[in-house]
């Protein structure tokens, strides 16, 4: 079973990520078990999928948190994808899911983000990291989660900006 970083530890990944379908999202067959489905599949099959407790949804970088909206609240897992690590849209998506849409489940980064983005992603509310590349040393990558221990801005992990905390 592949591994990922979750809540600061290396754990086994029990979820399967379903790729975006070539054809109609409505006609995709979602297998049994813990599955992370593309947003399009979720939106077209919501009525059916909502009855399951083992469905997560992933948002591509050109999809916004508002497209999932309040659905997020009931989901156990939402993933945000990085097609390339320089595509920073998912940082905003993550924050919005946490701060505006009340998502409290596992927020997972997937795709081609890099280790050096872990600290900022964590600050934006991401708590699980599944690298697309298999040659990443997760033990080493863990170190980057704590690149900073103090911050100026308000964010998910620290809602009070430094100016409200300065002694």
């Amino acid at each position: 079973m592949p591994k990922l970083i979750k809540d600061g530890a290396i754990v086994e990944d029990s979820w399967t990520l379903l790729a975006k379908p070539e054809g109609e999202a409505a006609s995709v067959e979602v297998p049994a078990g813990q599955v992370i489905v593309p947003l399009g599949v979720w939106l077209t099959q919501k009525a059916r999928l909502q009855t399951r407790q083992d469905i997560g949804v992933w948002l591509d970088s050109d999809e916004t948190a508002s497209q999932l909206g309040d659905d997020a609240r009931a989901l156990p897992l939402v993933a945000v994808n990085f097609p390339v690590f320089m595509d920073g849209r998912s940082f905003s998506t993550a924050r919005l899911l946490r701060e505006r849409y009340g998502f409290t489940g596992e927020l997972r980064a997937v795709g081609n983000f890099i280790r050096d983005q872990l600290c900022y992603l964590r600050r934006c509310g991401v708590n699980a990291f599944a690298f697309a590349r298999e040659d990443i040393n997760l033990e080493d990558a863990l170190k980057s989660l704590g690149d900073f221990s103090e911050y100026y801005q308000a964010s998910v992990d620290q809602p009070l900006p430094l100016f409200r905390r300065r002694a």
């Binding site: 905003s92 900073f148 300065r166």
Partner: protein, 554 residues
């Protein structure tokens, strides 16, 4: 000036440690070059034509003498004995060794300096008016707000991988010396009759390949909402700015595509969610920021006596008089003056400064200006708080050090990017063009008679030399491997911001001094008594200039 507390120091130390580790992993082959690239850029490190270039932030242009001495040390110890003041008030080292960069950054961190976010697709150093806090026409000091923005934008977790770079400028004076209308966000401080402080917000201005004057999207943003509003703008941009084409990725393209009206609506809608959150500035925080920019302990100077003495000295030494006229300006405290040290003597790349000169400026700052100096976006250095009774002594010392060229604001005070001599993006050299024009205009009396002329040179369309907003703008272009220069007229970065019009076909490097001379001749022949070059151009239009420059030889 802002002084770091333990929090600031800790955050910067952690950043230096992070980059030291990243550099080590890159050198060990653990971090791919394409992954290291944005990381090193966000720490100020470019790879240039001949060597790396390290860009050090000077937050809104403010430097103290300790920092100047440290920059001198770095220039001497790690570089070739000089550095460069950029058009965004930053300092650039042209020859650092990659392996030594973490050490340089460690040394800089000790004096509260760094290169973080001086490059890359993130929020860059906030720039401002070099006469902030001392200008006679100032409405309110912009620096406390610049510092609040500096802290908010530094290592902002959401906005470190934007579609493209992002620049913010703030002005607090009647005359805009920070060019806010050609920034991604321009903030103009306003004080209402009621005493309420806020900002007029411009967005989507910029130079580069597609020059645009910013659009005002809000006429009055109350000061306490500064950060939430910035966050709303950045969030809209981060989500919707184009990422498919780096030449269309700046916010100006998004604003234009959406129209400024729709863009403003989107920002306002986003802001409604954010405006009363924790980012809302407290009065305590605004006061804290302001506490770092209080007045220095000014001496009581008999302003009239000091002025009378200056008049005598100027009549005895006309060269001093010229310097007073061009390089010294008024101060809100009677008996004080703000002095611009020119980094534009003929024959030196505009903005270049040696290690020894940096130390001299540090000494001058300590002796004459409360230990502080400022960089300007015109690539000069300002000593902002000089007693009028000290001006003559300061002039003598500045002259000896090569800083007293009395050309501030004139045609030889050229804004110029490093160009093809250094920069790997450049299509053409820019420094030799600046020098040849300076040589053409060596008669200072003639130069004074011409009055204020902004002449700006960029070595490529990225426009680091701000050619679009020069009264005369020069753009280096490459034609089949040969360097040519296009001329633009009528640009301005001031309150009446405008973009220059292309005059016509480009010229060879050797022709440039004569071309500029002809343009100036047309101005001199057509001007009225009170007109500057830009005014005459706006009145008579491009045609007389074109006719002269492109006239067939008989």
């Amino acid at each position: 000036m802002y002084i770091y507390d333990d929090y600031d120091h800790q955050i910067l130390r952690e950043r230096v440690a992070q980059f030291r580790d990243q550099t080590a992993r890159f050198l060990a082959g653990e971090l791919k070059p394409e992954e290291f690239l944005p990381l090193r850029l966000q720490n100020g490190l470019y790879v240039q034509r001949l060597a790396p270039m390290l860009r050090i932030n000077v937050p809104y242009g403010m430097l103290n003498s300790t920092q100047l001495r440290r920059l001198a040390h770095i220039a001497r110890h790690y570089d070739k004995g000089y550095c460069h003041v950029s058009t965004r008030q930053n300092i650039q080292f042209n020859w650092p060794d990659l392996t030594e960069v973490p050490d340089i950054l460690t040394e800089l961190a000790e004096v509260q300096m760094h290169g973080t976010q001086s490059s890359g697709n993130c929020i860059r150093n906030t720039t401002s008016d070099q006469f902030a806090g001392v200008a006679e026409d100032e409405i309110i000091d912009p620096r406390p707000y610049c510092e609040i923005i500096r802290q908010w934008s530094t290592f902002h977790p959401e906005f470190a991988f934007l579609p493209r770079k992002f620049k913010i400028a703030v002005t607090g004076s009647q005359q805009d010396r920070a060019a806010v209308q050609v920034h991604d966000i321009g903030l103009q401080l306003i004080v209402k009759d009621s005493g309420e402080v806020g900002f007029k917000v411009y967005v989507g201005g910029g130079l580069g390949r597609t020059p645009v004057i910013g659009s005002a999207i809000r006429d009055f943003l109350p000061e306490e909402h500064l950060l939430s509003y910035l966050e709303a703008i950045l969030r809209i941009y981060n989500q919707y700015g184009r990422r498919d084409n780096k030449f269309k990725a700046r916010i100006k393209i998004l604003v234009r595509a959406m129209t400024p009206e729709i863009f403003a609506q989107e920002v306002e809608a986003e802001w409604l969610h954010l405006k009363d959150g924790y980012n809302k500035l407290t009065q305590a925080e605004i006061d804290r920021a302001k506490s770092f920019f209080t007045q220095p302990p000014y001496a009581i100077v008999d302003a009239n006596a000091a002025q009378a003495q200056l008049d005598v000295q100027a009549s005895e030494q006309p060269a001093f008089g010229k310097w007073l006229q061009r390089n010294v300006r008024g101060h809100k405290i009677p008996g004080y003056a703000a002095v611009t040290l020119s980094l534009k003597p003929t024959g030196v790349a505009p903005g270049d400064i040696t290690d020894t000169q940096l130390e001299i400026i540090a000494n001058l700052a300590d002796e004459f200006s409360f230990g502080e100096a400022r960089t300007t976006h015109e690539q000069n250095i300002v000593l902002a708080d000089v007693k009028k009774t000290d001006l003559f002594t300061l002039w003598q010392k500045a002259k000896q050090a090569g800083f007293a060229t009395p050309n501030i604001g004139t045609i030889t005070d050229i804004i110029c990017c490093p160009g093809g001599d250094f920069c790997s993006l450049a299509n053409a050299k820019s420094i030799p063009i600046a020098e040849s024009i300076q040589r053409q205009f060596e008669d200072m009396d003639y130069v004074y008679d011409l009055g204020d002329i902004d002449l700006n040179i960029s070595g490529c369309m990225n426009a680091c030399g701000h050619h679009h907003v020069g009264h005369i703008g020069i753009l280096g272009v490459d034609k089949k491997g040969e360097e040519f220069y296009q001329v633009q007229l009528g640009g301005s970065a001031s309150n009446d911001a405008s973009l220059g019009d292309v005059l016509g076909p480009s010229f060879g490097a050797d022709d440039m001094p004569a071309v500029i001379q002809k343009l100036v001749d047309v101005y001199v022949e057509n001007r009225t008594d009170e007109e500057l070059f830009i005014d005459t151009y706006r009145r008579i239009g491009a045609t007389p200039f074109k006719e002269r420059v492109y006239a067939k030889a008989h």
